[in-house]
């Protein structure tokens, strides 16, 4: 395939710091290779801004291969852009037509304050994890593989939830800025496995309560989170976490 180039108009949220006021700035960018990734296109924009003596656009990124969960912002209303099952670092400019106008905004949630431009503080997710997203029993050295037999079905279903990279797209997509998909995926993969059983209900209650305390909303079943999730994690985990939560509260008296 021959390389071609396109022009795009970018409307980018610029905010110098958490407490500073933000606003949209519009940039015109020509000669963008259709083979470049979305983040490479932003690199190109930043190069241009630097040579003009302007502040580059801050955005978070690390692996650029869709596995770390660092990247992510909203493109024309869609977290991670228009494609399903992809992070913004894996989105390519061939996806857009020349002359496209793209509005880039950071994740919007009270619990995710903007640090700068398109970068938000997602440490709220760390707090949810710290509330119970682990097993507290120290098992010493790595045990023999298969010393605890786990069926293939359970293992692969647990992996579906464990595929969550914590990017925050679920929160960004939800009309309630709910962290339920993230939280329930983290609850869910441990609930599928024998190692997760002893703390199953205390974990579920603690993590969901923490998410609420941090200011994330509740679930209205609009299912936008699942559609926005780069790992396409199912909303069934929210339902399962809900079941364990109520069981924990009502039956187990937590």
């Amino acid at each position: 395939m021959s390389e071609s180039t396109i022009s795009v108009t970018l409307e980018v949220w610029r905010q110098p710091g958490t407490d500073a006021a933000g606003r949209f700035e519009t940039y015109q960018l020509d000669g963008v290779s259709t083979d470049s990734s979305f983040l490479e296109m932003l690199d190109m924009l930043n190069q241009k801004l630097l040579t003009e003596g302007k502040e580059p656009v801050a955005f978070e990124h690390d692996c650029r291969e869709g596995i770390c969960g660092s990247c992510g912002f909203v493109i024309n209303g869609n977290p991670h852009g228009p494609d399903r099952g992809t992070t913004v670092c894996q989105l390519h400019m061939r996806r857009f037509k020349s002359g496209a106008k793209l509005t880039l905004e950071p994740w919007r949630a009270k619990a995710f304050p903007v640090l700068r431009d398109l970068m938000v503080d997602r440490s709220a997710f760390d707090k949810i994890m710290a509330a119970g997203g682990y097993n507290s029993v120290n098992v010493g050295n790595a045990p023999d593989a298969n010393s605890i037999p786990i069926g293939q079905d359970a293992a692969s279903e647990a992996f579906d939830a464990a595929a969550c990279i914590g990017c925050g797209a679920c929160v960004a997509a939800c009309k309630n800025a709910s962290a339920n998909l993230f939280t329930s995926a983290k609850i869910g993969h441990l609930a599928m496995l024998p190692q997760g059983q002893p703390e199953r209900y205390t974990r579920t209650v603690a993590m969901l309560d923490m998410a609420e305390d941090l200011g994330f909303g509740a679930c209205s079943w609009t299912q936008e989170c699942e559609a926005a999730c780069p790992k396409e994690i199912s909303v069934k985990w929210i339902s399962r976490a809900q079941r364990d939560y109520v069981k924990g509260r009502v039956v187990k008296g937590i």
């Binding site: 409307e11 949220w13 933000g22 949209f24 909203v74 024309n76 209303g77 869609n78 228009p82 494609d83 399903r84 509005t103 905004e105 919007r108 949630a109 009270k110 619990a111 995710f112 304050p113 009309k175 309630n176 800025a177 709910s178 209650v205 969901l208 309560d209 609420e212 200011g215 994330f216 909303g217 509740a218 679930c219 209205s220 079943w221 609009t222 299912q223 936008e224 699942e226 559609a227 926005a228 909303v235 069934k236 929210i238 339902s239 399962r240 976490a241 809900q242 079941r243 364990d244 939560y245 109520v246 069981k247 509260r249 009502v250 008296g253 937590i254």
Partner: protein, 222 residues
């Protein structure tokens, strides 16, 4: 009641109670529709049904049930909705959030995002409806006649058709969402429940509005 306090203290617990009360209200709607459809019967059977209902235990269970379920459902939803609204933060999105990557049908996505507001419409509808045919007609001599007379007025007929459609729309999203909130999810049964919810939504929308439409169009004799 400590379990109730614990449950109410969290949004997950509140969602659970919203789901339970919602399903209770749907059960009421099924019974209500079955009763109402007797208005199509020619003679006095509707009035007899109304009399039996009012003399029996069912009306007490219904009244008490509705007095508990309705305020519970609405109150908890408003409580949740206020928190949900705050969760977005001070700055919302510029790009319209109508953008979606969902593969579900347009109607389903729309229903999931509008059910809350349709619920507020229903609140007004139900208040007028209860006043009109329950409180205002505390003496139920000829309820059928009163209904036929009211709905012969096209304005009231339209009001009731819109109310019926709103009910259907609310149930269209609410029924399946309730099971999800209760923690019920299953590869095969969840799609079946989604379909059952659609069937119930159509049943309520068509069933209730058919009464108003029949009366305003056919103008049956009282």
């Amino acid at each position: 009641m400590s379990w109730l306090k614990r449950t109410l203290s969290s949004s997950s617990g509140r969602k659970w109670l919203v789901a339970l009360s919602g399903l209770g209200l749907i059960l009421f709607l099924v019974i209500h529709l079955l009763g109402n459809l007797q208005i199509f019967l020619p003679d006095e059977s509707f009035n007899e049904y109304a009399h039996h209902l009012h003399d029996g235990l069912l009306i007490v269970i219904g009244d008490v049930g509705l007095l508990v379920l309705f305020p519970l459902h609405i109150g908890l939803v408003i409580w949740l909705a206020r928190e949900n609204r705050k969760a977005r933060g001070a700055t919302g999105y510029k790009a319209p959030m109508t953008a979606t990557k969902q593969k579900r049908s347009f109607a389903r996505v729309l229903a999931s995002k509008t059910t809350l507001y349709i619920g507020l419409v229903l609140l007004v509808f139900v208040a007028i409806h209860v006043w009109q045919f329950r409180l205002h007609h505390s003496e139920i001599g000829n309820l059928r006649g009163a209904i036929l007379e009211t709905l012969a007025n096209p304005m009231w007929a339209i009001f009731y058709v819109l109310g019926s459609l709103a009910t259907g729309w609310h149930v269209f999203h609410g029924f399946q969402a309730a099971f999800r909130s209760l923690g019920f999810t299953h590869n095969r049964f969840t799609p079946a429940l989604v379909n059952l919810g659609t069937a119930l939504a159509l049943l309520f929308a068509i069933g209730f509005s058919s009464i108003a439409l029949w009366i305003v169009i056919a103008q049956p004799h009282i």
